[in-house]
Protein backbone atom coordinates (compact mmCIF):
# COMPACT_ATOMS: atom_id res chain seq x y z
CA UNK A 1 0.00 0.00 0.00
CA UNK A 2 1.04 3.59 -0.39
CA UNK A 3 2.07 5.01 2.92
CA UNK A 4 3.59 8.27 1.86
CA UNK A 5 2.79 10.38 -1.13
CA UNK A 6 6.48 10.33 -2.10
CA UNK A 7 6.06 6.64 -2.80
CA UNK A 8 4.32 7.70 -5.98
CA UNK A 9 7.24 9.74 -7.26
CA UNK A 10 9.33 8.45 -10.08
CA UNK A 11 13.10 8.72 -9.66
CA UNK A 12 14.42 12.09 -10.75
CA UNK A 13 17.58 10.81 -12.39
CA UNK A 14 15.69 8.47 -14.70
CA UNK A 15 13.15 11.14 -15.60
CA UNK A 16 15.99 13.55 -16.35
CA UNK A 17 17.59 10.99 -18.64
CA UNK A 18 14.36 10.30 -20.51
CA UNK A 19 13.79 14.02 -21.02
CA UNK A 20 17.32 14.58 -22.22
CA UNK A 21 16.94 11.82 -24.78
CA UNK A 22 13.87 13.45 -26.24
CA UNK A 23 15.32 16.95 -26.59
CA UNK A 24 18.01 18.18 -29.00
CA UNK A 25 21.53 17.57 -27.68
CA UNK A 26 22.24 21.15 -26.73
CA UNK A 27 18.85 21.87 -25.18
CA UNK A 28 18.23 21.76 -21.46
CA UNK A 29 15.35 21.54 -19.05
CA UNK A 30 14.61 23.62 -15.96
CA UNK A 31 14.31 21.95 -12.60
CA UNK A 32 10.72 23.08 -12.30
CA UNK A 33 9.84 21.65 -15.70
CA UNK A 34 11.49 18.36 -14.84
CA UNK A 35 9.50 18.16 -11.60
CA UNK A 36 6.28 18.87 -13.46
CA UNK A 37 7.03 16.16 -16.02
CA UNK A 38 7.77 13.66 -13.25
CA UNK A 39 4.48 14.42 -11.51
CA UNK A 40 2.63 14.30 -14.80
CA UNK A 41 4.12 10.86 -15.50
CA UNK A 42 2.87 9.45 -12.19
CA UNK A 43 -0.57 10.88 -12.82
CA UNK A 44 -0.54 9.49 -16.33
CA UNK A 45 0.21 6.00 -15.02
CA UNK A 46 -2.63 6.24 -12.50
CA UNK A 47 -4.97 7.61 -15.13
CA UNK A 48 -4.24 4.85 -17.63
CA UNK A 49 -4.41 2.18 -14.91
CA UNK A 50 -7.80 3.27 -13.64
CA UNK A 51 -9.19 3.66 -17.16
CA UNK A 52 -7.91 0.19 -18.11
CA UNK A 53 -9.34 -1.26 -14.94
CA UNK A 54 -12.72 0.24 -15.74
CA UNK A 55 -12.51 -1.23 -19.22
CA UNK A 56 -11.64 -4.67 -17.85
CA UNK A 57 -14.48 -4.53 -15.34
CA UNK A 58 -16.90 -3.59 -18.07
CA UNK A 59 -16.04 -6.89 -19.74
CA UNK A 60 -16.42 -8.68 -16.41
CA UNK A 61 -12.68 -9.25 -16.11
CA UNK A 62 -11.00 -8.77 -12.79
CA UNK A 63 -7.48 -8.45 -14.06
CA UNK A 64 -6.32 -5.96 -16.64
CA UNK A 65 -4.50 -7.25 -19.68
CA UNK A 66 -2.03 -5.72 -22.10
CA UNK A 67 -4.85 -5.49 -24.60
CA UNK A 68 -6.93 -3.41 -22.18
CA UNK A 69 -4.09 -0.97 -21.79
CA UNK A 70 -3.52 -0.60 -25.52
CA UNK A 71 -7.22 -0.12 -26.15
CA UNK A 72 -7.43 2.43 -23.34
CA UNK A 73 -4.53 4.38 -24.80
CA UNK A 74 -6.29 4.59 -28.13
CA UNK A 75 -9.47 5.74 -26.42
CA UNK A 76 -7.59 8.39 -24.47
CA UNK A 77 -6.19 9.85 -27.68
CA UNK A 78 -2.74 8.35 -27.34
CA UNK A 79 -3.04 6.01 -30.30
CA UNK A 80 0.35 7.23 -31.48
CA UNK A 81 1.83 5.20 -28.61
CA UNK A 82 0.16 1.96 -29.62
CA UNK A 83 2.33 0.77 -32.56
CA UNK A 84 5.68 1.05 -30.79
CA UNK A 85 4.32 -0.36 -27.54
CA UNK A 86 2.87 -3.29 -29.45
CA UNK A 87 6.32 -3.97 -30.87
CA UNK A 88 7.94 -3.68 -27.46
CA UNK A 89 5.39 -6.09 -26.13
CA UNK A 90 6.20 -8.62 -28.85
CA UNK A 91 9.88 -8.43 -27.97
CA UNK A 92 9.03 -8.84 -24.31
CA UNK A 93 6.81 -11.85 -24.92
CA UNK A 94 9.49 -13.50 -27.01
CA UNK A 95 12.05 -12.87 -24.28
CA UNK A 96 9.80 -14.44 -21.63
CA UNK A 97 9.14 -17.41 -23.88
CA UNK A 98 12.84 -17.94 -24.61
CA UNK A 99 13.61 -17.79 -20.91
CA UNK A 100 10.98 -20.40 -20.18
CA UNK A 101 12.25 -22.65 -22.92
CA UNK A 102 15.86 -22.47 -21.82
CA UNK A 103 14.75 -23.29 -18.31
CA UNK A 104 12.74 -26.22 -19.57
CA UNK A 105 15.73 -27.39 -21.59
CA UNK A 106 17.90 -27.35 -18.51
CA UNK A 107 15.42 -29.46 -16.66
CA UNK A 108 15.24 -31.77 -19.61
CA UNK A 109 18.93 -32.55 -19.69
CA UNK A 110 18.63 -34.57 -16.53
CA UNK A 111 15.86 -36.71 -17.92
CA UNK A 112 17.19 -36.68 -21.46
CA UNK A 113 18.96 -40.00 -21.03
CA UNK A 114 15.60 -41.65 -20.68
CA UNK A 115 14.35 -39.75 -23.68
CA UNK A 116 17.39 -40.80 -25.66
CA UNK A 117 16.90 -44.40 -24.67
CA UNK A 118 13.30 -44.41 -25.76
CA UNK A 119 14.05 -42.60 -28.98
CA UNK A 120 16.70 -45.16 -29.91
CA UNK A 121 14.16 -47.81 -29.13
CA UNK A 122 11.77 -46.12 -31.50
CA UNK A 123 14.51 -45.86 -34.10
CA UNK A 124 15.26 -49.56 -33.79
CA UNK A 125 11.65 -50.40 -34.20
CA UNK A 126 11.52 -48.23 -37.26
CA UNK A 127 14.44 -50.12 -38.80
CA UNK A 128 12.74 -53.45 -38.38
Amino acid sequence: MVERIEDLNLPNAVIARLIKESLPDSASVSKEARGAIARAASVFAIFVTSSSTALAHKQNHKTITAKDILQTLAELDFESFVPSLTEDLEVYRKMVKDKKESKANKKDTSSSENANASSTAVAEEAIE
Binding site: L8, S30, I37, T65, V91
Partner: protein, 130 residues
Amino acid sequence: MGEPKIQSPVERAPNAETVLPLSRVRTIMKSSMDTGLITNEVLFLMTKCTELFVRHLAGEAYVDAFPQKNSETLKYEHLSQLVNKSKNLEFLLQIVPEKIRVHEFQEMLRLNRSAGSDDDDSESGSESDE
Protein backbone atom coordinates in the same frame (compact mmCIF):
# COMPACT_ATOMS: atom_id res chain seq x y z
CA MET B 1 20.41 25.74 -38.96
CA GLY B 2 17.95 23.14 -40.10
CA GLU B 3 15.22 21.78 -38.01
CA PRO B 4 16.04 20.34 -34.63
CA LYS B 5 17.02 16.73 -34.70
CA ILE B 6 14.54 15.19 -32.40
CA GLN B 7 13.89 11.56 -32.79
CA SER B 8 10.23 10.97 -32.61
CA PRO B 9 9.51 8.93 -29.52
CA VAL B 10 7.48 6.64 -31.67
CA GLU B 11 10.34 5.66 -33.96
CA ARG B 12 12.58 3.68 -31.69
CA ALA B 13 13.83 0.18 -32.04
CA PRO B 14 11.47 -2.07 -30.14
CA ASN B 15 13.03 -3.50 -27.03
CA ALA B 16 12.14 -5.20 -23.79
CA GLU B 17 14.25 -3.03 -21.54
CA THR B 18 12.79 -0.56 -19.10
CA VAL B 19 14.57 2.31 -17.40
CA LEU B 20 11.94 3.29 -14.85
CA PRO B 21 11.85 0.99 -11.82
CA LEU B 22 9.13 -1.64 -12.16
CA SER B 23 8.53 -1.78 -8.41
CA ARG B 24 7.72 1.92 -8.32
CA VAL B 25 5.38 1.69 -11.27
CA ARG B 26 3.66 -1.22 -9.52
CA THR B 27 3.17 0.92 -6.41
CA ILE B 28 1.69 3.68 -8.54
CA MET B 29 -0.67 1.26 -10.26
CA LYS B 30 -1.74 -0.22 -6.94
CA SER B 31 -2.61 3.22 -5.63
CA SER B 32 -5.40 3.32 -8.16
CA MET B 33 -8.41 1.77 -6.48
CA ASP B 34 -9.71 -1.56 -7.56
CA THR B 35 -6.68 -2.63 -9.52
CA GLY B 36 -6.70 -6.38 -9.25
CA LEU B 37 -3.73 -8.56 -9.92
CA ILE B 38 -0.96 -6.90 -11.89
CA THR B 39 0.76 -9.37 -14.17
CA ASN B 40 4.40 -8.94 -15.13
CA GLU B 41 3.40 -8.31 -18.69
CA VAL B 42 1.00 -5.55 -17.75
CA LEU B 43 3.60 -4.03 -15.46
CA PHE B 44 6.13 -4.07 -18.26
CA LEU B 45 3.72 -2.43 -20.68
CA MET B 46 2.69 0.27 -18.21
CA THR B 47 6.32 1.07 -17.47
CA LYS B 48 7.15 1.35 -21.17
CA CYS B 49 4.07 3.42 -21.68
CA THR B 50 5.01 5.84 -18.91
CA GLU B 51 8.50 6.19 -20.33
CA LEU B 52 7.02 6.95 -23.72
CA PHE B 53 4.76 9.52 -22.14
CA VAL B 54 7.71 11.33 -20.55
CA ARG B 55 9.50 11.45 -23.89
CA HIS B 56 6.36 12.56 -25.65
CA LEU B 57 5.56 15.32 -23.18
CA ALA B 58 9.08 16.74 -23.12
CA GLY B 59 9.62 16.44 -26.87
CA GLU B 60 6.27 17.94 -27.82
CA ALA B 61 6.55 20.81 -25.39
CA TYR B 62 10.00 21.65 -26.71
CA VAL B 63 9.14 21.48 -30.41
CA ASP B 64 6.04 23.49 -29.73
CA ALA B 65 7.89 26.23 -27.91
CA PHE B 66 11.00 26.26 -30.11
CA PRO B 67 10.17 24.87 -33.52
CA GLN B 68 13.47 25.96 -35.05
CA LYS B 69 15.91 26.09 -32.19
CA ASN B 70 18.24 23.51 -30.77
CA SER B 71 19.70 24.91 -27.61
CA GLU B 72 16.94 26.42 -25.55
CA THR B 73 15.77 25.55 -22.06
CA LEU B 74 12.49 23.79 -21.60
CA LYS B 75 10.61 25.58 -18.85
CA TYR B 76 7.50 24.99 -16.82
CA GLU B 77 5.39 27.42 -18.83
CA HIS B 78 6.08 25.50 -22.04
CA LEU B 79 4.57 22.45 -20.42
CA SER B 80 1.55 24.24 -19.07
CA GLN B 81 0.99 25.81 -22.48
CA LEU B 82 1.04 22.42 -24.13
CA VAL B 83 -1.26 20.95 -21.49
CA ASN B 84 -3.63 23.82 -21.97
CA LYS B 85 -4.03 23.33 -25.68
CA SER B 86 -3.88 19.54 -25.99
CA LYS B 87 -7.08 17.66 -25.61
CA ASN B 88 -5.42 14.42 -24.62
CA LEU B 89 -3.52 16.17 -21.83
CA GLU B 90 -6.65 17.54 -20.24
CA PHE B 91 -6.18 15.24 -17.26
CA LEU B 92 -3.08 17.26 -16.36
CA LEU B 93 -4.77 20.63 -16.12
CA GLN B 94 -4.76 20.49 -12.32
CA ILE B 95 -1.29 18.98 -12.17
CA VAL B 96 0.45 21.45 -14.46
CA PRO B 97 -1.71 24.56 -14.15
CA GLU B 98 -0.84 27.75 -15.93
CA LYS B 99 0.76 30.20 -13.62
CA ILE B 100 -0.74 33.59 -13.17
CA ARG B 101 0.55 36.68 -11.45
CA VAL B 102 -0.73 37.72 -8.06
CA HIS B 103 -2.26 40.94 -9.37
CA GLU B 104 -3.97 39.02 -12.17
CA PHE B 105 -5.37 36.64 -9.62
CA GLN B 106 -6.61 39.50 -7.46
CA GLU B 107 -8.23 41.01 -10.50
CA MET B 108 -9.94 37.69 -11.23
CA LEU B 109 -11.18 37.51 -7.67
CA ARG B 110 -12.51 41.02 -7.86
CA LEU B 111 -14.34 40.33 -11.12
CA ASN B 112 -15.68 37.12 -9.69
CA ARG B 113 -17.06 38.90 -6.67
CA SER B 114 -18.73 41.67 -8.60
CA ALA B 115 -20.12 39.19 -11.12
CA GLY B 116 -21.69 36.74 -8.72
CA SER B 117 -21.84 38.55 -5.40
CA ASP B 118 -24.72 36.40 -4.20
CA ASP B 119 -22.80 33.11 -4.17
CA ASP B 120 -19.85 33.76 -1.97
CA ASP B 121 -18.60 30.23 -1.57
CA SER B 122 -16.05 30.72 -4.33
CA GLU B 123 -13.56 27.87 -4.54
CA SER B 124 -11.56 29.71 -7.13
CA GLY B 125 -8.60 30.25 -4.88
CA SER B 126 -8.03 26.72 -3.75
CA GLU B 127 -6.04 25.44 -6.68
CA SER B 128 -3.73 28.24 -7.57
CA ASP B 129 -1.26 28.19 -4.74
CA GLU B 130 1.42 26.01 -6.19
